[in-house]
């Protein structure tokens, strides 16, 4: 594990807002069959911030993420991404989306999977050599050197998810939207992926909005944890995580870490009680 060169640099956030939700409401279906997924959600995420969304299932945390990604549209309120509408942000390729399933293309090699966004986006001012270099660098960063020519089915679940991470980073989006990316992995792999993700976040200038079910994961990774209520989802509480950087295994064993985990758990308990 390499440590970031300066831990002070890691916590310095940008001054601009990366994503903002203002009185956002989302209803699925219509008429009598309509379900209200989220209601009156106000949330601001600053540039360079790492924010986790946590809440009971069906609380609309994925819905928030998909609203920011312009995969769905809000029923009310406004979502702003990098000062633009989510649609414009999508067209400008401002964010990378990572699903719970790796969502790799089976017919492409690892290398070609990572190259896919570059093929589609035809990024100007990036030569072929530059692209190749970037893919190589990212595959190294996620620990997959030597697997360039493998197909997804030849990799374990954890490795597949790392390919998906490299693919999301290759076009250097300023925002990563991650929908329970490690939810399907075993705990050991998950721990390692978390630390790797945290390192990548520290090394790049990326804003991360991270949906998770796991309290320890949320506390370990984030600058702030957003606890959401049961359906319809609202923001129950925003808990700042004042743990030192870089977040390592030692941080995970500190007393403060356990206090914060407890605090999030209690808040989540209240959120669920409120929903019943």
């Amino acid at each position: 594990m390499t440590t970031p060169e300066s831990s002070a640099e890691v916590v310095s956030l940008g001054t601009n807002t990366a994503i903002s939700f203002d009185a956002v409401r989302k209803e699925f279906g219509s008429g009598v069959n309509a379900t209200l997924a989220i209601e009156s959600v106000d949330l601001e995420i600053r540039e360079r911030e790492f924010v986790s969304l946590i809440g009971p299932s069906g609380c609309g945390k994925s819905t928030l993420l998909r609203l920011a990604a312009d995969l769905i549209e809000p029923s009310g309120g406004t979502v702003v991404v990098n000062g633009k509408s989510p649609r414009q942000a999508r067209l400008d390729r401002d964010y990378g989306f990572i699903f719970q399933a790796p969502t790799l293309f089976d017919w492409r090699t690892v290398w070609k999977n990572v190259a896919l966004p570059l093929e589609i986006m035809k990024i100007s001012g990036m030569s072929r050599e530059k692209k190749d270099e970037e893919i190589e660098r990212l595959l190294g960063m996620v620990g997959l050197d030597g697997f360039e020519r493998h197909h997804p089915y030849q990799l374990s679940g954890g490795m597949q998810q790392r390919v998906s991470l490299a693919r999301a980073l290759v076009f250097q989006p300023s925002i990563l939207l991650m929908d329970e990316p490690f939810g399907a992995l075993d705990e050991i792999t998950r721990d390692r992926m978390n630390l790797e993700l945290h390192r990548i976040w520290a090394e790049t200038n990326t804003t991360i909005l991270f949906v998770t079910h796991s309290i320890p994961e949320a506390v370990l990774l984030s600058g702030r944890v957003v606890v959401m209520t049961a359906r319809p989802g609202r923001v129950q509480e925003i808990i700042p995580i004042d743990l030192p950087y870089p977040r390592t295994t030692e941080v995970e064993e500190s007393t403060r870490y356990y206090e914060l985990v407890t605090q999030v758990r209690e808040s989540l308990g209240q959120a669920m009680a409120g929903g019943l």
Binding site: L71, G96, F99, T103, W107, L155, S156, G158, M159
Partner: protein
């Protein structure tokens, strides 16, 4: 950097051991030999007349003797089947590609595809003769009508099978319709396309022979069968049947081979 997980050993394809090839090839071969022997014995035992059922050995020697002509006729039939499949398959695939995103359009066509698949070819053959004449044109048309719905249905299901997350991924890249079609839907459709082709090549051959049987040139398998059957040349009819079988099987195997090569990344091909 932490080290990578070990590659799951499922990965790298190992050549199949010979015993597994043999297990696939030998049982059908044994059945074939047994059937031939039985056939010969039955003719011997019951003294069946030659014009009713000739001996396999007779058919075999006639097949060798007439091989040049059978190949020539087979090639003509194959050409009709091939052109019909190209036309019909092309129409079916194009319709699937145009309509797969629009549910009501795909279903509107889908019903007629189902109806066409249920129509007996025999009833089509005389009609196409009226429309397109007695020679190749009408036969190509009949083959097209028989194969278009097959490829439409299979391709449609395939194009629609694209993973929902993968579609959203393409959307998140702001990929255009054509990009998404080519990079995502086509690879998802390929396994279904090949399944459809495996059925369509054999159907094309059968329909070509049936429509040749209904008239036109004798210089093809269907015409030859008609002519020889009228003259009660049973052995000759059988040689044409054998040729038709061989052509059908080899087409199927060619398609299956291409399928296995093109889709070597696909879960179903990784035994």
């Amino acid at each position: 950097m932490t080290t990578a997980d070990p590659v799951l050993d499922s990965g790298i394809e190992r050549p199949r051991p010979w015993s597994r090839h043999a297990a696939v090839v030998i049982p059908p071969l044994l059945v074939f030999v047994a059937a031939i022997v039985l056939w010969e014995l039955i003719i011997e035992a019951f003294e069946i007349q030659r014009f009713l059922l000739p001996r396999p050995s007779e058919i075999a020697s006639m097949f060798v003797e007439d091989f040049g002509r059978l190949i020539r006729q087979g090639r003509n039939t194959l050409s009709v089947a091939g052109r019909g499949l190209l036309l019909g398959g092309g129409i079916g695939i194009a319709l699937a590609a145009i309509t797969f995103r629009t549910r009501w359009m795909a279903e509107g066509i889908g019903i007629y595809a189902a109806v066409l698949k249920a129509v007996p070819v025999i009833s089509l053959a005389p009609l196409t003769v009226v429309w397109f004449g007695i020679e190749a044109g009408s036969k190509i048309a009949t083959v097209s009508i028989a194969t278009a719905p097959i490829l439409f249905t299979y391709t449609l299901v395939g194009l629609r099978s694209a993973d929902a997350n993968a579609q959203e991924l393409m959307r998140s890249y702001a990929a255009g319709h054509f990009r998404t079609f080519w990079n995502l839907h086509v690879p998802y459709a390929l396994p279904f396309f090949f399944s459809g082709m495996k059925i369509a090549v054999t159907i094309a051959m059968i329909v070509a022979i049936i429509s040749e049987y209904f008239g036109g040139s004798f210089e093809n398998l269907g015409g030859y069968i008609r002519n020889e059957a009228n003259n009660v040349h049973t052995v000759e009819v059988w040689t044409a049947i054998v040729m038709a079988c061989l052509l059908g099987i080899s087409q199927y195997m060619i398609v299956a081979g291409i399928d296995r090569y093109v889709l070597r990344w696909h879960p179903s091909k990784r035994g």
